[in-house]
Symmetry: C2
Subunit: 336 residues, 2 copies
Amino acid sequence: MTVREQAVTLRQVASLAGVSRQTVSNVLNAPERVDPDTLSKVRAAIETLGYQPSRTARSLATRKAGLVGYCLARQPGHSLFMDPFLHAMTEAIEASGRHLLVFTAAPGVDGLRTYADLVAQRAVDAFILSDTVDDDPRHPWLTDRRVPFASFGRTWPEQGDEPGPWVDVDGAGACAELVSKLAAAGHERIAFVGWPDPVGAGRDRERGWRGECQRLGLSNEDCVALPAPAGSMAGAALAAGELLDGRRPPTAILAASDLLAVGVLSEVHRRGVDTWVTGFDDSVLASTVEGGLTTVRQPTDQIATTLVGLIDEARADRGVLLAGEIVVRGSARLGG
Amino acid sequence: MTVREQAVTLRQVASLAGVSRQTVSNVLNAPERVDPDTLSKVRAAIETLGYQPSRTARSLATRKAGLVGYCLARQPGHSLFMDPFLHAMTEAIEASGRHLLVFTAAPGVDGLRTYADLVAQRAVDAFILSDTVDDDPRHPWLTDRRVPFASFGRTWPEQGDEPGPWVDVDGAGACAELVSKLAAAGHERIAFVGWPDPVGAGRDRERGWRGECQRLGLSNEDCVALPAPAGSMAGAALAAGELLDGRRPPTAILAASDLLAVGVLSEVHRRGVDTWVTGFDDSVLASTVEGGLTTVRQPTDQIATTLVGLIDEARADRGVLLAGEIVVRGSARLGG
DNA sequence: CTGAAAGCGCTTACAG
DNA sequence: CTGAAAGCGCTTACAG
């Protein structure tokens, strides 16, 4: 184990400045109630020594870890959106004077054990939740124990309200808007390729698509939804093939994610048809694809800062729905 | 601020078990030197109370934060590989009884400030470094201050040895192997598409490609390297176009990353030629691309556990070079 | 405005 | 094998 030089402590600052340790602490935590002269004297000492209070000592005294926990989900491909989100989340937490502690946990109820340990050890003050699932067990568990948290994504409970504060992007709204613009561009047969057994967000997006198709009076036969087997790109290509083989092939296909959209697009390219395709997330894939993928950007920074704000509020019943932003590229040349 | 129920402390365990607090501490930290009867008595108390020691209190006493710092780089697309790496890293750190604290920092020398703060506040015991650049300032800075760290990636110093322990994947070796297999499959004109102003890893990969081409006696004119403008997919497609427009177009193209490979591949598809293409990283993109992308998998878990091991060792002069694994898919049907 | 006292919840030698 | 003492480096009321 490497030897580290002794760190500077409050005691040394006090002795250098010729004041008590308590006064140094006041300079740090309540400068308004210390004499201006003392203040500058102490601050000079802090400066020369390069003093910074020990996080752990402070934590022990204040009973706040200064850390927020965030569980990394293991979902390949999925990282496409979550990595930028994590970055934004980290910055937002830092802006609040805390740091983010990341951890891994088993999926579902088993994973609660990890949350319980973190709470029991007082390793974190709160949690940020993402990758929420329907009736996610974490939310009520944390609420019951009065552990502060904020969720990115709703849990779509069978009954009752969302258990705890949440932020989400209005997937239904964004997909409805896509349909509306597609229709304005002359499309009448608009299909949807989603996940098999769609989770909350997937269902929400599909709901928005279907709702707008109906509102516009498009025929049900012309607006069909198909799941992409395995939720994979290849699966999406298969689904697209099936749609295009139909008697009334769609002229536009909404995909529930960029990854699925790329699968759909590859099938469209293969056939050389002019079907318009849209994705969701504005991940690297969207700019990666030949011609570019029209997609929905999630306001990452805004999501992150809103989440951090919700953590610190007493009210556990707040939910914030943010709008997604349609980003137009080559795969669907949507107008204003 | 939400009210949290009072956590269980060592004191309560001691009183329930009818022993001193010190003995409870011994049960936790040196069970071998406590009487078996006392042991089970105390353990029973721990069990009933669901006691877990406070991380901060323990940290203060042991002078170890129990946290390892890791800086999230902001590089779009790049997340393709780094997200799985972060997950593996988190698990490896957890296996060692610590947690990962993630943070953001300005690039280059300015970012050192953030490292300095974390050290001054004793918020972390060590750092894991990634996204290393040539002559990365962080490594010597940490070494000088005797802050333990381990680096994923070399810093390729102008002179002297690597400053501090590192783990890296042998990019040169993997690319040489690709060339060798390509040649065995009959290819004689093997080009390379890399980054403009390649960083250490990019140069390393290119070096491996060139070395093997020369070793096999392939003509220099047939083995040309071209940078992808902007390091983008579109840039890679341009570079591929230029290569294919040459008088002696390559029959195989190595790309320095999956992202570049996808760009190359799109151009190859567009022209309908049968040029073989390989990537690097085995990211989601590799399975995303039509037909699949032949690429090099980095042994993520092994990298992570090796890094954690290096953190805890006193010797600062160790380096570990791991082999990449060639994953064959449709874009280059390489044999055994 | 400033300092002496107590305490946050542990661990680390050190007596017994 | 077990416990009393001291200490980790802060903050929080509370006197003065």
